[in-house]
């Protein structure tokens, strides 16, 4: 086993040991959204002509949970290790920036996918499931989880305390996911807010992901892929740079 694989395995085991909190709880939250919004809004909102509101909601909830939990995994692990001081066990090893990056991001991807699969499993019963392009589903699930896992790593390196971490989550990640078109198609918005939504990177992840299910989306999946992929290269480069200079972890 290579060093980074040990760290990856440790990061996976870390959330797996408390899976009631890290997997079951977010699945339950998504189920509640489905029960309430699906019940209230079914028939009142039309999104795409051929798609019922509840069916539209399923991929949105899956992606939202996947993104939020990928972020939560790397960020909480890093902040916790920094605050408890046990990050020193990794700092004292020969593991380099790329090993840290791979381990933390891949573990976040695993958590994101596990939660996403769980949400799909409990919400799919509310509406008939269609899958038009499985490849797009997989591509955007992986890319979205990697993106948020990497952002979580950056936030975890930056934050010194849990309250800084939670403001990052409450004031940035949660609003951006909620306003990205999880619960509505941005075509139902006034033109101004449609334009604003186009500036939200999370919109493209959810829109591209949804395209895989229905074969229709607000923008072309290729455009979403290009924008999300391009943004990911920048975010990953930043995370690797911070790890290389030991930002806030090596004095």
């Amino acid at each position: 086993m290579r060093g980074w694989q040990a760290l990856f395995y440790k990061e996976v085991l870390r959330f797996w040991k408390v899976s009631a909190q890290t997997i079951a709880a977010p699945v339950l939250t998504a189920l509640l959204y489905m029960l309430i919004f699906g019940h209230l809004l079914e028939g009142r909102i039309t999104v795409y002509d051929s798609v019922s509101y509840t069916a539209f909601l399923v991929p949105g909830l899956v992606m939202m949970s996947l993104l939020q939990n990928a972020f939560a995994n790397s960020s909480s692990s890093m902040v916790q290790s920094k605050m408890m001081g046990n990050l020193v066990f990794i700092l004292l090893t020969p593991l380099g920036p790329l090993s840290w990056f791979s381990a933390y991001v891949l573990a976040a991807v695993v958590r994101g996918l596990a939660v996403g699969a769980g949400v799909l499993l409990v919400t799919v019963w509310f509406a008939p499931l269609t899958v038009v392009w499985p490849v797009w589903i997989l591509v955007f699930a992986l890319l979205g989880a990697a993106m948020l896992g990497t952002l979580g790593l950056i936030a975890g390196l930056w934050a010194d305390k849990f309250d800084q971490m939670s403001s990052f989550q409450n004031f940035l990640i949660t609003p951006m996911t909620f306003l990205s078109g999880v619960f509505y198609s941005i075509h139902s918005l006034p033109p101004f807010w449609q334009q604003v939504s186009h500036l939200n990177p999370f919109f493209y992840m959810i829109d591209g992901f949804r395209y895989g299910f229905f074969g229709v989306s607000d923008v072309s999946p290729w455009l979403s892929l290009a924008l999300v992929g391009g943004a990911y290269v920048l975010v990953a480069a930043l995370a690797l740079h911070l790890l290389r200079i030991g930002y806030k972890i090596r004095g």
Partner: protein, 301 residues
């Protein structure tokens, strides 16, 4: 061969209250196979020096080499040959003792070393705790796990930063027996401690730090030889007169005077009697490392 070489290491911390020079031109070498003691009062710079050695801090200037490898430019190779026991009592609450040791081995790319892990657990008195969660362990037990974690990759150079702080007598015995064995087998040991009797018993050579500077560097036996040879020690129920107190070391009821010969001893006792005081439990003992330490620190200020 030189195990660790510190070359003009400087470290300045700049904070809101201005710059603070934690290390000021620290230079000395530790040879392969030595049991080396790094002593100094709190805030002398011991942990800063060890943190730079371990790659947890960057020096402001200077160089540290471990077995000829540069700590900054060849960090991965250095960490493979260095085992560091940190001073802070840290642990990962998610895992059992054995899991923690397996992961730590894994970070070094080592698997299937359960025989060595079992030996570590045995020698550190942790065998019956292997499957306990870290949270369930007492402070002393957590400290033992820290030592085990530092040794999973059998590092030729072992660094212990106050490993016996707040630890009971039994563990100190167990720990020192084990570390002394590793030292006999060829591992170099660098130790910082506040227990000077431990340093005197274990270390063949000692450096003393004060305010970031090396103020003494010699073999333990030479340090002891150069100190005032004897100490007059007695107990007293009353306060010493100020002119005597300034020459003595007073710890509660215990009063100690450094003394080189019988005349000095007689003079001190006479002065005490003249002050109308009664000295009890009078004894004369050989100076130990604590006396040397206080001499050196006193002379340096």
């Amino acid at each position: 061969m030189t195990a660790i070489s510190f070359q003009s290491v400087n470290k300045t911390f700049t904070g809101a209250r201005g710059a603070f020079k934690a290390l000021d031109g620290v230079s000395f070498d530790i040879e392969q196979g030595e049991f080396f003691g790094l002593l100094g009062p709190n805030g002398a710079g011991k942990t800063t020096l060890i943190s730079i050695l371990a790659g947890l801090l960057q020096p402001s200037s200077g160089q540290i080499k471990v077995q000829g490898l540069d700590v900054q430019t060849q960090s991965a190779q250095v960490r493979n040959i260095l085992g560091v026991v940190p001073q802070e009592l840290v642990f990962d609450p998610f895992f059992t003792v054995r899991e923690a040791l397996r992961f730590q081995s894994g970070y070094f790319g080592i698997t299937g070393n359960d025989a060595w892990l079992d030996e570590l657990l045995d020698c550190l008195g942790l065998a019956d705790k292997a499957n306990h969660n870290m949270r369930q362990l007492s402070g002393g037990m957590k400290r033992r796990v820290l030592v085990a974690q530092a040794l999973v990759h059998k590092p030729p150079v072992i660094v212990l930063d106050e490993p016996t702080a707040g630890v009971d007598v039994e563990l100190r015995q167990t720990l020192w027996q084990f570390i002394a064995r590793l030292n006999r087998e060829g591992h170099t040991v660098l130790l910082t401690t506040h227990y000077l009797e431990e340093a005197e018993a274990l270390c063949n050579r000692i450096a003393m730090l004060k305010n970031g500077k090396v103020v003494a560097l010699d073999s333990t036996s030479s340090l002891l030889k150069n100190a005032s040879s004897n100490v007059l020690r007695f107990k007293l129920d009353a306060q010493l007169p100020p002119e005597l107190a300034s020459q003595a070391r007073v710890t509660g009821r215990i009063v100690q005077f450094p003394a080189n010969d019988a005349v000095q001893i007689e003079n001190y006792l006479a002065a005490v009697r003249q002050a109308g005081l009664v000295a009890e439990d009078v004894e004369i003992r050989k100076a130990d490392l604590e006396d040397v330490f206080l001499d050196v620190m006193g002379a340096a200020s």
